[in-house]
Amino acid sequence: MKPYIELSARFLFGLVFVYAGAVKIAAPTAFAADIFQYQLLSDWLIYPAALFLPWLEAVCGLCLWAGTFKSGAAALCNGLLVIFMLALAINLWRGNDVACGCFGNSGSADARAALIRDGVILALGLVVQYFSRGGDKPRPQSVAQAGQGVAAS
């Protein structure tokens, strides 16, 4: 894969999380309200989650941009996306069309659209994670395999 494609995917994926984290860091009370409406966490965990999750998103997004700890950052971002999608799906199953709150308080409640959007972002994230682990690089041969190759030639 061309390096700039991997770089573009990582930048775009990181941008999503930096933006999502930044708007929620700026308004943790609104994010707490969003978490509460999901009705999945204990009331005691609402504030800690509202404070912690946006920073986790922002830190991981910045690491993806910088190319530092990119494998761990991509794994965490994808894990967060899976959790968010599960939360949306559970509420849809309950018949509770929650406002996603993924990018701050957008005000509109369309959990299905948010679920599809998160799925697209997750697909991008899996690509980023694959290449952040050197998935496109050829694997080095073992010493024994290399020796057999030399003998055969």
């Binding site: 005691w44 920073w55 922002a58």
Partner: protein
């Protein structure tokens, strides 16, 4: 055979870094969020701080059965149309900015009110209650748990 390697150490480091930043940034806020507090109870405390009474779903049901209380739905017309407490009046919170007087002409100042919106995270019931208190209404109770909890308990609702 290739192994799936999960970068646990990197993830742990990022996790701890985010936790430190979240804790530190919260300390720098003018009004830090409580790290260990029951979210629902803090919303009830906010309601009381505005000089409004609170009522649980179970108690609200008892008041509903008494028939002496006027239930006010502070949500928007679309949400109200999708489902509300039977007999409730819709006074969207946005009417505070225009048109509230025309609605209140029909509600005497001595009328006991129970105001609700969707859930405890929704501030509309508290804000509308605060405005009504400012306008001279005294018997105001806020059903913090909101319509969602009322409906989830299988209590009476209607749609129109």
């Amino acid at each position: 055979m290739s192994r799936i390697s999960i970068p646990w150490l990197e993830m742990l480091f990022l996790f701890l870094l985010a936790a430190c930043l979240a804790y530190g940034s919260n300390l720098l806020r003018p009004e830090p969020l409580p790290l260990w507090a029951d979210y629902f109870q803090t919303k009830i405390a906010e309601t009381r701080a505005k000089g409004l009474g609170t009522v649980s779903i179970d108690d609200a049901k008892r008041l509903y059965d008494v028939k002496g209380f006027l239930f006010i739905d502070a949500r928007g017309p679309d949400e109200f149309a999708a489902g509300h407490l039977p007999g409730a009046r819709n006074i969207p919170f946005e009417m505070v900015y225009s048109g509230l007087d025309s609605v209140l002409d029909y509600i005497p100042k001595g009328q006991a009110l129970v105001i609700y919106c969707s859930d405890a995270a929704c501030p509309k019931s508290r804000d509308l209650g605060e405005q009504l208190k400012f306008l001279g209404y005294s018997g105001i109770l806020i059903m913090n748990e909101g319509y969602d909890a009322w409906a989830a308990k299988g209590l009476p609702t209607e749609a129109k």
